[in-house]
Symmetry: C2
Subunit: 201 residues, 2 copies
């Protein structure tokens, strides 16, 4: 994937980090998020509790990684400038999600499940979405030549982010569905609706 920057030290750190996350995820699924203590996770990953907090600032941060936002921004920037903003975002979404492997997909599914179930996590995920909103506004501003704070840019950025939020699981869902590729079809369709002025018929 990314270049191999690995000097023994880096490798160990990456391994510890991964071990912490994996054991945490496993324990969360086995016993629930709240009743899994940081000490348990640290012990499972064979590090001291102190070390845990050197890798993750909080228990929540274990599953609050979101590597996709920068990828998406990049993909949007790569769209030809004559494509209107929302359409550019739609295409970028499709491109990025086309590259996702089954494994990543599966781990993302487990992550989303936790985000949906644990309120503290949902809240923080929600907050990340607000950060994403600002990113979206930036790329829209770039493509339109308008300042990022312009109300038209904010409105469009907000609408895009809102549609994503409303259609993707963390935005509630009926609780059952576990996040499937088809959800992203829905997402792209939702942005299509937005582009067409939100027709109701």
């Amino acid at each position: 994937m990314t270049g191999t920057p690995t000097s023994l030290r880096e490798r160990k750190k990456a391994k510890t980090r991964a071990a912490l996350r994996e054991h945490a995820m496993r324990l969360f699924e086995e016993q629930g998020y709240a009743s899994t203590t940081v000490d348990q996770i640290a012990e499972a990953a064979e590090v001291s509790p102190s070390t845990f907090f050197r890798y993750f600032p909080s228990k929540e941060d274990l599953i609050l990684v979101d590597d996709y936002d920068p990828l998406l921004v990049e993909a949007v920037r790569a769209q030809p400038p004559e494509v209107p903003p929302i359409e550019a975002i739609r295409r970028a979404l499709r491109e990025v999600f086309a590259t996702i492997t089954m494994e990543v997909w599966e781990s993302e599914r487990r992550r989303q499940k936790l985000l949906a179930e644990v309120p503290e996590l949902r809240s923080r995920a929600m907050n990340q979405m607000a950060g994403a909103l600002d990113l979206i506004c930036e790329v829209i501003a770039e493509r339109t030549g308008l300042p990022a704070g312009d109300i038209r840019v904010r409105a469009m950025g907000g609408a895009v982010a809102g549609v994503v939020l409303a259609i993707l699981p963390p935005g509630r869902m009926t609780g059952n569905a576990p996040l499937q590729p088809s959800d992203f079809d829905r997402l792209v369709d939702g942005l299509d609706l937005l582009q067409k002025g939100l027709p109701l018929t």
Copy 2:
């Protein structure tokens, strides 16, 4: 405001509750949110720490009251059915905010300031917005006759919520502005843009 159901006991409880919130707000502004302890708040309000948690499940909940959502829903429902959904929401917003007194306005300003500054609070406020999104979808579903889970309803609801989020302070703002009546003009304008298909010119 509300009817007076008050039997001495209820009055005392209401007073304690108010005292806790007011002293908390004061202390937060004086010393910051993080460095104000629950014990300090309890002491200032002259109750025991145990009692504090009987009134508020957590420190965060002290400032996470949001009384407006139900009012807004009601105001939307009161709009004549031929008014299209987004326009109905716009009108409801205007009506509700027109009734807000200066005092309420001022306390809301202080509240918003905290919500903007303290990350944990921002996260939870964000999450409330997700709840609001579902409410919005419900009223849209009512007005259109579509099921609440329909993608067109979700897309529109998401867009509306997103526009609100992008334009109102908790959605970041340039940091400076303290929340003014003019912000609501912006909000109404933003929804107007959405209604018009998000024109950029």
